[in-house]
């Protein structure tokens, strides 16, 4: 227990200490939410207010930035610098290392969600919360963490850095996070709905918005599939050194 607490504390400490990671996990989602809620430049689709789809969107973005980008970059450099190898020669063990990473992700997400929700409410967001939102966040976190570890366990640190940030931008644009999926051309939309970002955004919209009270079954299916496949693939391909 002592080791798990200490390891979790360090995981969180090192995340917070990296300025670029704070920008990614809090700065960008808050900025996008504030800017596009007040400046009317984005297509709204069939939503009354931009904040109604932007809030679920940036919440999905927050989950993606912590689960995928942060975890991928942090872990791949730990692998490259021999940290994971060195930890292998201590009594910490892989289960406790993974548990510490999981707890630290949950803690960071809790802070992200609290701040984003508070900011959205201040911007006039009027949510209608259904329990499915918890399932959506959990499945999204598992799916993106799996993708993050898949990159971290196979690619070099610099490559992971570039790939994770690049993927972040692509999924941000076509993930229904700042632009509703209904605004995308049909071919692109078809692809977007098969990606974990699009599925998570749909699930969050459907569990948080009064005017869109349903989540398409396909979105749950896609999100569930990513949540199973990505961690499995990561576990099979992960190289510790």
């Amino acid at each position: 227990m002592k080791a798990l607490v200490a390891q979790t504390r360090v995981e969180i400490l090192l995340t917070v200490r990296r300025g670029e990671s704070l920008l990614l996990i809090l700065g960008i989602p808050l900025l996008l939410l504030g800017f596009f809620s007040s400046v009317d430049v984005l297509p709204k689709g069939d939503f009354h207010e931009a904040v109604d789809y932007l809030t679920p969107g940036v919440l999905a973005l927050a989950v993606m930035s912590t689960g995928m980008v942060q975890l991928a970059i942090g872990t791949s450099f730990e692998r490259q610098y021999g940290v994971l190898k060195r930890l292998g020669a201590t009594p910490l063990g892989r289960p406790r290392l993974l548990a510490a990473k999981t707890v630290s992700i949950i803690a960071v997400e809790a802070v992200q969600i609290a701040l984003l929700v508070a900011f959205a409410l201040a911007l006039g967001w009027d949510p209608s919360v259904r329990v499915g939102v918890v399932a959506a966040v959990v499945l999204g976190t598992i799916a993106f963490s799996g993708l993050g570890l898949l990159m971290a366990g196979t690619l070099r640190g610099e490559v992971t850095l570039a790939a994770a940030n690049g993927l972040y931008l692509v999924l941000l644009l076509i993930g229904g996070m700042v632009v509703p999926l209904s605004e995308l051309p049909s071919g692109l939309r078809f692809v977007a709905e098969l990606l974990p970002s699009g599925a998570l955004a749909q699930a969050l919209v459907g569990t948080l918005t009064a005017t869109h009270p349903t989540v398409p079954a396909k979105a749950w299916l896609v999100l569930g599939a990513w949540a199973v496949l990505a961690p499995l693939l990561a576990a099979r391909t992960f190289r510790w050194e």
Binding site: R86, A89, T90
Partner: protein
């Protein structure tokens, strides 16, 4: 501490390596290496780069499976008994192993949390002379400071056995002195130390015994004094037709001649030009061909020469002084 195992037995060796072989694909990184390290002993694996030192140590640390042969640490299998062994072993990797953004005291406190009865992080930080660097992240420490912190991390769990891979490489003179003192303290408290180095002088200063490796095999082993003597046992080996008159040749050379295997001879004399000339003259006189001629313990000498070429230092152990 360390002299008895948890059943109260005195183990033969805290570290036992028996005919170890490790293959990377077709490359034999380690090929038939055997040695034992007793409790409380400091043993140096000495050899040039690519000798197989790190591969041997990483097999003992449980990072690699032997392709053949066995290794035991504290009478346990480093891979199969990893969970049981890991609390008794301190490891210093050749490089890295620490979060780039973490500070020295933070990482010592983190590692201390992994062990049941750890050393005091602040005291240990002081012992490796890094108290003044406590708020600098790892990536800002100099190479020598990183090595000292790595050593502290190897010791934080109060290990019975420590594996130190190149502990003094990249460390300045004062840092080397400090690391040597720490290793001497470990020996005094009964901790078994296996370290690797390509620096002959460091091995001679720190170790009770030295195992010299080259190209995956053990070339020589013994205490520094024994190794020095062994290089003075000068000899000339040559190949010629079998069943020579070794007694007659011995009289001509005033040295003992032995046919070590069919057509392979060993002469107990220094390989001086005069001696070699006398040998070839005797062969010419008897109209005998000379297949090949090798001077001294050529392989050991060759390793020594390459080691001194790497470090640029004059070793205390010298290959034989030639006339």
């Amino acid at each position: 501490m360390g002299s008895r195992d948890r059943y109260g037995r005195i183990p033969l060796g805290v570290i036992e390596v028996n005919e170890l072989g490790v293959l990377y694909g077709n490359l034999r990184a380690v090929n038939g290496v055997s040695f034992t390290v007793e409790a409380g002993e400091v043993l140096a694996l000495l050899g040039p780069n690519g000798a197989g030192k790190t591969t041997t140590v990483e097999t003992l640390e449980g990072y690699r499976q032997p392709t053949f042969g066995q290794v035991r640490v504290l009478d346990l299998d480093p891979v199969a008994d990893h969970d049981e062994l890991v609390g008794h072993v301190g490891v210093m990797l050749q490089s890295g192993g620490v979060y780039p953004g973490i500070r020295p005291l933070e990482v010592l406190e983190l590692f201390a949390s992994y062990y049941d009865d750890p050393d005091d992080p602040a005291l240990l930080l002081d012992r490796v002379g890094l108290t003044h660097r406590r708020s600098s992240p790892w990536r800002r420490l100099s190479g020598g400071e990183q090595q000292r912190l790595s050593l502290a991390l190897a010791l934080i769990g109060k290990p019975d056995v420590t594996f130190l891979d190149e502990p003094t490489s990249g460390v300045d003179v004062a840092g080397r002195q400090l690391i040597r003192e720490l290793i001497a303290e470990l020996r005094q408290t009964g901790v078994t130390v296996l370290l690797t180095t390509h620096d002959l002088e460091e091995a001679e200063r720190m170790a009770d015994r030295i195992v010299i490796m080259d190209q995956g095999t053990v070339v020589a082993s013994g205490t520094p004094a024994e190794l020095m003597r062994s290089t003075e046992d000068e000899e000339v080996r040559f190949g010629a037709p079998p069943h020579l008159d070794t007694a007659g040749l011995g009289r001509a050379l005033n040295a003992f001649v032995d046919e070590v295997s069919l057509g392979e001879y060993k002469v107990a004399m220094a390989p001086t030009p005069n001696n070699v000339a006398a040998l070839t003259a005797w062969l010419a006189e008897h109209d005998l061909p000379l297949a090949d001629l090798r001077a001294g313990r050529q392989r050991l000498e060759d390793v020594f020469l390459r080691l001194t070429a790497i470090t640029g230092e004059h070793p205390i152990i010298k290959p034989e002084a030639r006339e």
